[in-house]
């Protein structure tokens, strides 16, 4: 039988969970070249809300945790192909070889256009997961692992004052270790497709002079909308293409899954228990010694051994042995 048993109600657990969620945030940016265009992103997000259900099978279900985007910026750079006039070949009677006229190009170089849009307000995502509570021991005397997936995230969060840095003393850490994670894919609405198309169109049209020159250039490139679709290799709708870009090409869906697994399962504990655990703090007594010096009561600390944690449908129960 364990020496120590502590229980926290579902409501208290939810408070701990809310504190954990409030401490989580992330930021990431990257860009890639896809041949005729470049695409980049800068995302910054945090979590909000969500409901927690402690279940009788020793699992915890977290539902409808909102992924809130503070920044969801996408940048697109288009390398517009050469726009040229002239050219074409003249068929000559055999055996005279055909003559092909050179083309003369409208710009001195391939013009590039770039747009950057923040789409944070258009994206709503939720994450739900089921997991079990896991207790892990943090031994402050051990050197940090060479490869620590939490290293950067923990630094970011602790530098931002959202979590406490790793302590200089030993601790037990309680994690919610997700077993199944459901995250909504990035799914941009139609209006985002329109926004991107309009922004690209404006950027392209801005580099083309007006009047009949613009009419001619637009005729050469076959219209801006078709040109954009051709360069970006968009088979259907721009919003679907963008969703695919975020989910697959940028790998941000995998990033979110990994983030949730790492944050909850390994990086940010829902609760920390010091080892040894202080039962009575150091206290300066009102009594005095014969020499007149105050009497200081030393703190009472109990080493915590064999800590385990489980849940049922009403509470979380932490059990441990008190060491010698």
């Amino acid at each position: 039988m364990a020496h120590l048993t502590v229980a926290a109600s579902e409501r208290a657990f939810k408070t701990m969970f809310d504190l954990l969620v409030a401490s989580i945030g992330w930021e990431k940016s990257d860009s890639a070249s896809f041949g005729p265009f470049t695409a980049g992103y800068h995302i910054k997000g945090h979590l909000e809300g969500g409901s927690v259900d402690l279940r009788a099978d020793n699992t915890i279900q977290v539902k409808e945790l909102d992924i809130k985007w503070d920044i969801l910026q996408v940048s697109l750079g288009l390398n517009i192909p050469e726009i040229c006039v002239g050219g074409g070949c003249i068929n000559m009677p055999w055996p005279i070889p055909d003559i092909c006229l050179p083309q003369v190009c409208v710009f001195d170089d391939n013009p590039d256009v770039e747009i950057s849009l923040d789409l944070a307000q258009f994206v709503a995502q939720e994450v739900s997961f089921t997991g079990s509570l896991v207790a892990r021991y943090y031994d402050a005397s051990l050197p940090p692992p060479l490869i620590d997936p939490c290293d950067m995230l923990r630094d970011v969060l602790s530098n931002a004052g959202l979590i406490e840095p790793l302590p200089s003393h030993n601790q037990w850490h309680l994690f919610i270790d997700p077993e199944t994670v459901d995250i909504d894919l990035f799914d941009f609405p139609d209006i985002v497709g329109d926004l991107i198309e309009n922004a690209l169109t404006n950027a392209i049209v801005a580099i083309i002079p007006g009047g009949w020159v613009r009419d001619l250039i637009l005729a050469i490139i076959g219209g801006v909308a078709d040109l954009i679709r051709f360069i970006l290799d968009i088979p259907d709708e721009i919003d679907e293409w963008l969703s695919d870009l975020f989910n697959v090409s940028f790998g941000l869906f995998d990033f979110l899954v990994t983030l949730v697994l790492d944050i909850f399962g390994h990086c940010v504990p829902i609760h920390r228990i010091d080892d040894p655990f202080t039962i009575l703090e150091e206290e300066v007594s009102t009594s005095v010694r014969l020499d007149g010096a105050p009497v200081t009561l030393v703190p009472v600390r109990v080493p915590i051994l064999n800590l385990s944690v489980l849940v049922n449908d009403v509470e979380m129960i932490v059990q441990a042995d008190a060491g010698a």
Binding site: G88, C89, V104, D215
Partner: protein, 242 residues
């Protein structure tokens, strides 16, 4: 939203050139010279009478290249493109052609091609564009500004080219060439219509200097019909006693 762009400079001459002359080659003109005999030729590119580039052309039956395009505004780049950089000669198969054209700038170029075997400059001169297009030569114009152009020669042959903007034209392509033949009795046909950005190639059966002028500008895009309402301020009431 923050649209930015890397500046690309517009080749203004493409849209502003209204007069073309085979004796002073400018943007949108191409002079094609065919090398019918094997040999070593010397090519001089001149601008306003001054030599701006010189290159050798080796013509032989075993050379693979049938055509080389030489941009007189940037001959070194043209030679890089054809794999004959620096002082290397342009290699061409017998019967092949060089298309001399101007990609940018105000123009005023001329070109001479001389056979190096010939004893003197005059007898060896295969092409002197400042004197016109020789018989068998080909002079091409890419007409961009919409309107009506008159093509004329010093022998008073004339042809008309109508250039229309390709508005709402499905399948428009600038790389379409309309061929006109210049014979002793004039141009054939005497009138053609092309879309803006396309080319007219004049095959010269006789030697000629050829000139093309924009004689009537087209308004460009058709005007948009707009319903206009006119508001008239009512006249002030007449004062009493007047």
């Amino acid at each position: 939203m923050n649209p930015t762009r890397r500046p690309a400079v517009l080749n203004r001459a493409v849209f502003s050139n209204r007069t073309f002359d085979s004796r002073a080659l400018s943007v949108l003109t191409t002079l094609v010279h065919r090398f019918l005999e094997a040999g070593h030729y010397e090519v001089f590119v001149r601008r306003a009478g001054s030599i701006v580039h010189r290159t050798d052309v080796h013509v032989a039956p075993d050379h693979p290249r049938l055509q080389v395009n030489v941009d007189m505004a940037n001959v070194p780049e043209s030679k890089r493109a054809c794999g004959c950089q620096g002082d290397d000669a342009i290699e061409l198969r017998t019967g092949g052609a060089i298309a001399f054209y101007v990609s940018a700038g105000v123009g005023g170029y001329s070109v001479t091609v001389a056979d190096r075997r010939a004893g003197d400059e005059k007898t060896g001169m295969a092409l002197d564009s400042s004197q016109g297009v020789p018989a068998g030569g080909l002079f091409a114009l890419t007409l961009v500004q919409p309107g009506s152009y008159r093509i004329s020669t010093s022998s008073r042959a004339e042809a008309q080219v109508a250039v229309r903007l390709p508005l709402r034209e499905k399948g428009y392509r600038p790389d379409r060439v309309t061929v006109i033949t210049l014979r002793k009795d004039g141009f054939d046909p005497k009138s053609v219509e092309i879309f803006s950005g396309q080319s007219v190639a004049i095959q010269c059966e006789i030697g000629a200097d050829i000139r093309a002028d924009l004689i009537k500008e087209d308004g460009g895009a058709p005007s948009i019909d707009r319903t206009r309402a006119t508001f008239r301020r009512p006249a002030p009431p007449a004062r009493e006693g007047k």
